[in-house]
Symmetry: C2
Subunit: 335 residues, 2 copies
């Protein structure tokens, strides 16, 4: 174990008290107007010099223990290898940094047990707040989260089972845009390709699609673990039915179904029109570009981030945040 330099070592070396070193380190000096503890420039410089020379690194564990604050957030996403969550992760990290926070990340891989384990582990790490994308069936984890009393915001999906702070996207309206776009591009027989995962982002879009497109517009479900194989089957049916317009419920199904169509020799955007959800750089490859309904990722991140910081703030002030459950709905945009 690298013997870490402590505040005491510095004090000894500089010939001053431990307390003084602490003050200097925290710039508790001349806190403008409010006369704080004062140190002579000379000793201040000496202390800083010694600290630098000894390569002093304060232990946030000790500080935390005293102050009760870690300045760490816990962010639990579904899958960081999916660009959708990758962009969110990046945005969250940026926002956290701006507020002087660091971020503990976790991927659930849509596994509720993993979700619960992450919540537990982050709680023990004393994160000050959470932003989470619950996996389907994450009741244990959500219960744990609520019981902890720690501030958190749920994004991307909701559940009627818990009334908590949410930041969501209006999937119904988004689907209206998608269907309208597809029809305006000349498609007459339309279908939808979705995930088999029963998360609300999918089910909402499916319900909305069913309502708009009517009962004989098919909805195909690709399973998380066999998207490509399931896409092949879906394409069989799509071709058999003579469908000329497809809406994909998310970027992963989009790519999968496009690949399967191409393998069948179908001309994308000519034989079959596609409108996607979320972003994928595959959309840009075709001409005309594949329209897609894009969730405002940076806005989701900043909105939920601000929401969380507000909760943390209130919590810190001793207010009861357990009754706060505002649901913020953002709009998607057709590209």
């Amino acid at each position: 174990m690298t013997k870490n330099v402590t505040i005491r070592d510095i004090a000894r070396e500089a010939g001053v008290s431990i307390a003084l070193v602490s003050f200097v380190m925290n710039n508790r000096i001349e806190a403008d107007g409010k006369k704080k503890y004062r140190v002579s420039e000379a000793t201040k410089e000496r202390i800083l010099e010694v600290a630098r020379r000894m390569n002093y690194q304060p232990s946030s564990a000790a500080r935390m223990l005293r102050q009760g604050r870690t300045h760490v957030l816990g962010i639990i996403l579904s899958d960081m290898a999916n660009i959708f969550y990758g962009i969110l992760a990046k945005e969250f990290e940026r926002i956290a940094h701006k507020h002087g926070y660091t971020v503990l990340f976790g991927s659930t891989e849509e596994d509720p047990e993993r979700f619960d384990a992450l919540v537990k582990s982050f709680l023990e790490k004393d994160v000050e707040g959470f932003i989470v994308v619950p996996a389907h069936g994450s009741d244990a984890g959500m219960k744990r989260l609520q019981a902890s009393g720690r501030p958190f915001v749920v994004i991307d999906r909701y559940s009627k089972d818990y009334t908590v702070p949410y930041v969501l996207v209006d999937n119904e309206e988004a689907m209206e845009q998608a269907v309208k776009a597809l029809r305006s591009q000349g498609a007459t027989r339309i279908g939808m390709v979705s995930y088999s995962m029963r998360i609300t982002s999918m089910t909402d879009r499916e319900n909305s699609f069913a309502a708009l497109a009517g009962p004989d517009s098919p909805i195909y479900h690709l399973s998380f673990n066999s998207v490509d194989k399931d896409a092949e089957k879906a394409v069989d049916d799509i071709l058999a039915r003579g469908i000329d317009g497809v809406i994909t419920a998310s970027n992963v199904p989009s790519v999968s179904i496009i690949k399967a169509l191409i393998r069948r020799g179908v001309q994308i955007q000519k034989d079959i029109r596609i409108v996607g959800f979320d972003y994928s750089n595959v959309y840009d490859i075709f001409s005309p570009r594949i329209s897609h309904v894009q969730q405002p990722l940076p806005q989701i991140a900043s909105t939920s981030g601000e929401y969380l910081f507000r909760l943390i703030d209130l919590n810190e002030k001793g207010e009861d945040i357990s009754q706060i459950n505002e649901k913020i709905i953002l709009k998607a945009k057709l590209i």
Copy 2:
């Protein structure tokens, strides 16, 4: 602030000593064979019951302070919104979890100051080890990292300026595969599209390309902040020179150049053959699929992860790890 239940509260409530609660909580009991502290089943149950009832949550800060271990790793990547790093992030998180660790993530966005800030902040958080992708010019951050004495592994890029533990991919051999593949697909006049960023993954590939393809095979540089615009210019020249085979140095330039070519009406894989580096789902869209040299991401993650845990272990045992600087080179694979 949610008044946290401490070990003392439990002790008082259960009518036992603090120490006993600690033992029970840690299962320091019946450490099989080794007779550890023993507690009667009755009191043990009582303590556990009280802890559960009071919703006890141990503070890892306090524990850490005592044991000197946080079980947290710091992972600094370039850009989590890039699928390449997204996959790595996911893998690292999985591996860390398997070892009982949690992960602090950071994105540098190729900014050396950000890199240094992240290193500093993670050091303060007492991470036990790092895996980092240094931004170009991250000398301050690397110096800080080395001075800290904390275990770390550098991946994806290297610098002759520091001799440290590395896990890299053999870019020279990878480029040989790429050029060979491109030629075998019938390309005669070939060029390369790279990033203008001077990181070794790029420069190595460029040097290797130049050596293999000869002096009149052009190399185009797209700048990080204007890839699409730069790609347009590159395409002008590519068409003017009658180039029929392009190697792209990374996934971002790949997508950019493909889009630009398509906008010019060029038939990908017919008029111009492409061989890419890294993975992008765009590669799968064309027929024949765009060959690409793929870095073994899961292997990079597991290799560097094991490497880091080895270093942490040695460090914990008091050995001097500052002299360890094995460079592990993995092979890329043509897909």
